[in-house]
């Protein structure tokens, strides 16, 4: 029986797809059988982040419209053979799939995987409703920015109205800014959103580098963001893992910055 989790945020660009790819690969690295469903029809990117963009034959829209079975549409990961992508169409739009059809598909897939992760599109329209309907619980991804936190709050309200359990991932934290008081800290975000936090991911250039390569950063031992994702995966599997301490610049480094070199 699968655990079905939707990864959502409201605002675009906060890292939903990156989070989905990393958690999916992270779970697969632990031997779990995982399927990632991209519901961002028309703007698909999960295939790119996983390095699977050239292997797509059928899409979620084909499955919904009965032109293919979901098994036919699944793309198996090259390295982790227990990881699958169910890509969506890049030409159709979000009206191609309605929530009832999605719920039916999830029900059909439930027995075949340990985890089903659903990558939700930005926004609160039909695409959002379609993405969340079959999920047992939701991961809300936000960033320590005023607009991202506001949008997260809106999404949390919608999810609570649907009685979904919610956990929070705060992405792209810049520890130095937090320390200097120029970026929202975890205490503020907890105070405002009151949602259990399952992950704190630092801003890390390696995330961009890894996306370029189609290899999620969770596989990279040297990456701080990768470690943060591995920790989230551990927490999803029921392990107690405390949050990482991020290194920040000391007094003298800051002195150098202020006075130019």
């Amino acid at each position: 029986m699968s655990e079905v989790i939707v990864i959502t945020s409201g605002k675009g660009g906060v890292g939903k797809t990156t989070t989905t790819a990393n958690l999916g690969v992270g779970l697969a690295m632990r031997g779990k059988k995982v399927v990632l469903i991209d519901t961002d029809t028309g703007l698909r990117n999960l295939d790119l982040l996983l390095g699977l963009e050239r292997r797509i034959v059928y899409t979620l829209v084909d499955v919904i419209q009965k032109r293919a079975t979901y098994e036919q549409a699944l793309v198996r990961h090259k390295k982790y053979t227990n990881l699958f992508l169910l890509p969506t169409s890049q030409v159709a739009d979000k009206t191609a799939i309605n929530p009832e059809q999605m719920a039916e598909l999830i029900a059909q897939m439930r027995n075949d995987f340990d985890y089903i992760l659903i990558d939700c599109p930005a926004g609160i329209e039909q695409g959002f409703q379609t993405a969340i309907i079959g999920a047992d619980w939701a991961i809300v991804v936000t960033m320590p920015e005023i607009s991202a936190v506001r949008d997260a709050d809106k999404i949390i309200g919608r999810l609570q109205a649907e009685h979904k359990e919610i956990k929070l991932i705060v992405n792209r934290i810049r520890p130095q800014m937090v320390k200097e008081g120029t970026m929202l800290d975890m205490t503020s975000i907890d105070d405002i959103l009151s949602i259990e936090c399952i992950g704190q991911v630092p801003d890390d250039e390696k995330v961009v580098d890894s996306a370029n390569r189609g290899v999620p950063v969770v596989e990279w031992d040297s990456s701080q963001a990768g470690q943060a994702y591995r920790n989230i995966v551990g927490r999803m599997c029921g392990e107690k893992i405390s949050f990482m301490e991020f290194p920040t610049e000391g007094f003298f480094t800051r002195l150098k910055h202020v006075f130019g070199h």
């Binding site: 005023i146 936190v149 506001r150 709050d153 809106k154 309200g157 937090v178 320390k179 200097e180 008081g181 120029t182 970026m183 929202l184 800290d185 503020s188 105070d191 405002i192 009151s194 007094f251 800051r254 002195l255 202020v258 006075f259």
Partner: protein
Amino acid sequence: MLEALMKIFGKTDKSSQQIAHDRLKVVLIHDRANVSPEVMEHLKNDIIKVISNYMEIDQNEMEISLANDADSVALVANIPVHNMKHGSDKKH
């Protein structure tokens, strides 16, 4: 120079972190209640109308706001009363 020094010691009067936190607290109360400032103004005027049937109130000093705790939103009104109206003053 002063700014540079403040930067080194990480001191400013109110950090933008704190400003963001305070602004979010306020905006989310309204977002969550789905109430715009215009609606609040209408509500305030209607409350004044109704209460004025029963008592004289200080309209300038009265405050109406939404406050929230963990999972609920409350309408908080602070309405100074000058005098009670009695008998024939009370309209229905």
